[in-house]
């Protein structure tokens, strides 16, 4: 950004549209049932529908599949099994060096309940499901393993015999001098945590329409894929076509994703092949049973975390042992969940000595992938539990332990021990602001009063940094520096935006951001309106993607909370480039210098003489109607595409320093909970969440992101778990088993803000979409632990678990049985 641009940004922004909660342009359609979701779009005549036969076993060899009856059933066009799919594809690329294959359908063996075994393509879904019932599969059940600790032992059942262990990736890291810090520490405090499996369960499930053009060997796929588009080359390679022969398009609307619609990509490969075999377009809409059982899950993780602590509660060193359970297959981009937090593994704290042992283990469960918070809940749960334990074991105020360890503002930008560059923030001021404005003293008084009445009341805290705009290179931290060098260094987060002017002089913006309801189009209209002196209504925004026509990169898509910091900023840069060129045209027309040109109120005027002006639309149209009058060195003034990647996102170093994300927001939460003495149910009395997400582009949408993340985090804390029986049977197969909190269960949090603009992003914005998924589960857990004096607590904190503590041991039965009641 040049100096004069910064001035312009300030001038425009001060009185501008950005920062205001204007009504969302998306909502008129979404709220009146006129959204254009994948299943609303219709298909070409003759399109088939597919359904999938899934494994009822957690682990079994497939001895035989008899599809004959299904193939000849009414309306059936094709039946595909693993053998058909591997004949036309290659294995999906795997992100570790172990000799693993990863197929989108079971090949000779099933490894989780719900794994695809066969695909039936028929004239409609009903007939396809009728035919699925006719397929006979002979399984030879094998022992299953669902517990990651058991799976990591030498005598565990083995999922992938080609790899001699279920541990498919292991790395150790060392920063500073942790051994010395531990040797010299006054105290050692340790927590052991099992973080459970859960998911954000979008309302709209996966949907795909795939078509194969045999003449050109091109796959054309419409799918509610959310990105990252780094999976486009993964799919193209699996389909054995060049990148330009996989055209991937997304629908205008998508009904929620929260990361989950990343993992549609193996199904895109399957349906592409199904279309090729069936000879016609194939549509597949995932149903809810399929979604819960087999779409994707966040990772479950077993962590042992130990701190070396001085007498005052200062944390001198941390020692992590993380065992990450990625389910039955290591699907791209895993083991990314384990590494997304690598740079900020020390959280909001100034800790210089760190030891890490990371292991990735496979178990007989659904493969894992992106899920809101991605790696944050799993990392912050042990860290913030540890901070509470330090306070208790050293008899300190937990708030003082947090205060003493926060990264000081004077150190910003702060390079963490593990390599992140924390961009900005005043963590201490944010904490004190939350304590003051969130009413902590009042909450303490409520706790005292409740306890005086014999109630079980507790207060919990959590402080986290929320990373956003992922470095495309962070995942290579799973490889050794030597392996990274051989594979070629990866880095950056290439963001794209295109601003176009049409012959009537109006503005259209295209970004590859695939929103799922977030309001990207509204915010982009605000940003562009400010840059060009227009009203947001004047700007048209297209956010769906067509890889054959649009500007995109592997970093495209809607993930790692990158919209506000990266995409919106890139759109501004594109608009400013176009504006600067238009200013030179205007200078000629108005006979003033380009520096004297101002864009405001839909007009372009000389600052020195505002009456000397012309309508923006006339200037904007000139590139179409009179290109010959433009100064030759200007080039065209019709369309501008900007590619922006922040220079801070360098590749992991040879010392394994990993700047995993560009921006780091700060969150400080506290809450009060009361536990019902009869049921053990947790009632959230008050929840306060302080955010610093840099510059706020649309306050209402920021609040929406915070409240949405909070609701999902409350679910993770108290209700939700993808649960498995010991034999690998899946127990959470419907929404009567997998309990998502409704409006009845979610109180409104008190949301507070500070704004420390990021110096690294064009608009000063940072991501805000995932933070509460990281901070809230552990904040609630800390409050419950405080209420019930629990040393250890694992989620979800269900009433039955807590009641065991409240009710005490059950007495033996007093009277003999009267027989069945």
């Amino acid at each position: 950004m040049t100096a004069d641009r910064e001035d312009a940004a300030i001038t425009d922004g001060a009185a501008g549209w950005v920062g205001r909660s204007i009504p969302r342009f998306e909502d008129a359609a979404l709220l009146t049932g006129r959204g254009r979701y994948l299943d609303d779009l219709g298909t070409r005549p003759g399109t088939f529908e597919a359904t999938i036969l899934r494994s009822p076993h957690a682990h079994a060899e497939i001895e035989a599949i008899d599809c004959e009856a299904a193939r000849t059933a009414d309306g059936v066009a094709a039946v595909l099994t693993g053998a058909d799919v591997i004949a036309l594809t290659s294995s999906l690329v795997v992100g570790v060096k172990a000799p693993l294959e990863c197929w989108p359908i079971a090949v000779d063996r099933v490894r989780y309940v719900g794994e695809p075994v066969a695909i039936v393509v028929a004239s409609d879904r009903y007939r396809a499901e009728d035919a699925v019932d006719l397929i006979e599969v002979r399984y030879r059940p094998l022992s299953a393993v669902v517990d990651p600790v058991a799976a990591a032992t030498a005598d565990s059942p083995l999922l992938h015999p080609a790899v001699n262990s279920n541990v498919v990736g292991e790395r150790t890291f060392r920063y500073g001098d942790p051994e010395r810090a531990f040797a010299e520490a006054a105290h050692r405090v340790r927590v052991e945590v099992r973080y459970p499996r859960n998911s954000c369960t979008p309302i709209e499930t996966y949907g795909i329409v795939a078509e194969y053009d045999a003449g050109e060997d091109v796959y054309d796929v419409l799918a509610n894929f959310q990105g990252p588009f780094s999976l486009h080359p993964v799919m193209a390679r699996a389909l054995k076509v060049t990148g330009n022969r996989l055209r991937l398009r997304t629908p205008p609307d998508s009904g929620g994703s929260f990361g989950v619609k990343q993992a549609i990509f193996p199904y895109i490969v399957l349906m592409a092949i199904a279309s090729r075999v069936a000879g016609r377009p194939v549509k597949w809409i995932e149903d809810r049973l399929e979604h819960l059982c087999a779409s994707v899950s966040a990772t479950n993780r077993v962590t042992t975390l130990e701190a070396a602590v001085d007498r005052d509660g200062r944390i001198m060193a941390l020692d992590f042992d993380q065992l990450e359970d990625c389910g039955a297959h290591l699907r791209a981009p895993e083991p990314a969940t384990l590494y997304r937090m690598h740079g900020n593994l020390t959280g909001a704290y100034d800790i210089r000595h760190v030891k890490i042992r990371n292991r990735v283990v496979l178990t007989n469960k659904t493969p894992t992938g992106l899920n809101r918070g991605f790696g944050g809940p799993q990392a912050y749960y042990p860290l913030e539990r540890l901070v509470q334990r330090i306070a208790i074991e050293l008899k300190l105020d937990p708030l003082d332990v947090i205060r003493r360890n926060l990264v000081p503002t004077s150190a910003m930008p702060y390079r963490t021990a593990t390599g992140a560059l924390l961009d900005s923030g005043d963590f201490a001021a944010a904490l004190e602001g939350a304590v003051r404005d969130g009413g902590l003293a009042d909450l303490m008084a409520r706790r005292d009063a409740a306890r005086a009445e014999g109630k079980h009341y507790g207060i919990g805290f959590a402080a986290v940094v929320e990373p956003s705009v992922s470095n495309m290179g962070y995942i290579t931290a799973a490889l050794t520096p030597e392996e990274r060098r051989r594979a070629g260094l990866k880095n950056g987060a290439q963001s794209t935006a295109t601003v176009s002017l049409d012959p009537l002089g109006t503005v259209t913006v295209q970004v590859a951001s695939t929103p799922q309801g977030q309001g990207h189009r509204t915010v982009l209209a605000q940003v562009i309106a400010d840059a060009l002196g227009l009203k947001p209504r004047d700007v048209s925004v297209v956010a769906d993607v067509d890889t054959a026509k649009d500007a995109w990169s592997i970093a495209s898509g809607n993930y790692s909370s990158r919209f506000a910091p990266a995409v919106a900023g890139t759109a501004r840069l594109a608009a400013l480039n176009l504006r600067d060129r238009l200013a030179r045209v205007a200078a000629t027309l108005l006979n003033v210098s380009p520096a004297d040109i101002a864009f405001a109120d839909g007009r372009v005027a000389a600052r020195s003489n505002p009456d000397n002006s012309l309508p923006f639309s006339r200037l904007a149209a000139s590139g179409h109607w009179a290109p010959g009058t433009l100064p030759a060195e200007l080039g065209q003034t019709i369309r501008e595409t900007v590619f922006w990647t922040p220079p801070q996102l360098t590749a992991p170093t040879d010392f394994d320093q990993v700047n995993s994300s560009l921006c780091h927001g700060f969150i400080f939460d506290f809450c009060g909970v009361e536990i019902d003495p009869t049921s053990g149910a947790v009632r959230l009395d008050r929840y306060v969440t302080m955010h610093d997400c840099g510059s706020i582009l649309h306050p209402a949408m920021v609040t929406g992101q915070i409240c949405g993340g909070f609701a999902q985090a409350l679910g993770a804390a108290l209700y939700e778990e993808y649960a498995y029986a010991d034999d690998g049977n899946f127990l959470s197969g419907t929404f009567a088993d997998y309990l998502v909190p409704t409006a009845m269960e979610v109180p409104e949090p008190i949301v507070l803000h500070r704004e420390s603009p990021s110096p690294f992003t064009p608009l000063g914005a940072k991501g805000v979409g995932e933070g509460n998924c990281m901070s809230t589960p552990v904040c609630i857990a800390n409050a419950i632990a405080d209420a019930l004096s629990l040393d250890a607590i694992d989620l979800p904190a269900t009433p039955a678990k807590l009641a065991a503590r409240l009710h005490g041991p059950e007495p033996e039965r007093a009277q003999p049985s009267r027989g069945k009641a």
Partner: protein, 275 residues
């Protein structure tokens, strides 16, 4: 999640329903509010060859006073009973339990008799019916009969309703003077299947407690009055006798503890609510 093929009969008369039931036997299912049957069809857990829609039959959608009971016809939606005039005074237990049946949205579709016919062990309406000593009116081509609620529920989703029979109505006895009624429930979220549901009636001499969500059917027992020193032991015995089991949401022990604690609270509330 698409149903297997079935024939759909939109019955125009009760005789037509009974004829189809008599002819098709277990291959036929009655469709009322559809809140259970439709998902079961979609998941192919139920595969009837004929579905008989009774919602347009004349006369089945009436709520009426009859012989000291509130008689609820087979096509009456739960929400209509909830809004029935003076329900709180005419049968406070039913009024207290209905808001716990699913959500307002599902109660607008689901029927009272459908819930009774489905006989989920954690369902509220069967629990209320046995607590009040209500009755189920069954109808078939062979004739009509009335069954006491306590002998109607046989096991998990299993009742005394014959394959050729349909529930024509259920009867909830109206409130009696001097009797207190109370209902309490604990579930994971509001509207979920009850982990433990308690319904109680208490008068001057007897206390009656029914428990749902624990045994394989709603189960009722006469117990000592609140204040009687024998109540704790009796509740303890009741809790054990229900043979609770572990599931995803709660352990057997948790259920027994709730029977003891919530059961006592429900009885005490019913005693307080006496006139």
């Amino acid at each position: 999640m698409k149903p297997a093929a079935f024939d759909y009969v939109r019955a125009e008369s009760l005789e037509e329903v009974l004829d189809v039931l008599a002819n098709e036997g277990t291959d036929a299912r009655v469709l009322a509010g559809g809140q259970t049957l439709i998902p079961m069809l979609s998941m192919r857990m139920a595969r009837p060859s004929v579905v008989i829609d009774i919602m347009r039959l004349p006369g089945l959608d009436r709520i009426e006073g009859a012989e000291g009971t509130i008689r609820v016809g087979a096509a009456v939606r739960q929400r209509h009973v909830e809004q029935y005039a003076n329900l709180v005074s005419s049968q406070p237990l039913l009024a207290a339990a209905l808001p716990w049946v699913g959500h307002a949205q599902t109660r607008h579709r689901g029927t009272v008799c459908g819930s009774v016919a489905h006989a989920d062990p954690s369902a509220e309406l069967p629990l209320v019916l046995i607590t009040l000593k209500g009755e189920i009116e069954l109808r078939s081509r062979r004739g009509s009969r009335r069954v006491a609620a306590e002998s109607f529920f046989i096991g998990i989703m299993s009742t005394d309703c014959g394959v050729d029979e349909m529930i024509e109505a259920v009867r909830f006895p109206i409130a009696r003077a001097g009797v207190g009624y109370a209902f309490r429930e604990i579930g994971r979220r509001h509207g979920d299947f009850a982990i433990v549901a308690c319904a109680a009636t208490v008068d001057a001499r007897t206390a009656r407690l029914a428990i749902g969500g624990v045994a394989d059917r709603p189960t009722v027992r006469d117990l000592p009055l609140p204040g009687d020193p024998g109540l704790d032991d009796a509740l303890d015995a009741f809790a054990w006798d229900l043979e609770a089991r572990d599931d995803l949401h709660a352990t057997a022990e948790y259920r027994r503890q709730l029977v003891r604690r919530l059961g006592r609270q429900t009885l005490e509330e019913a005693a307080r609510c006496r006139d």
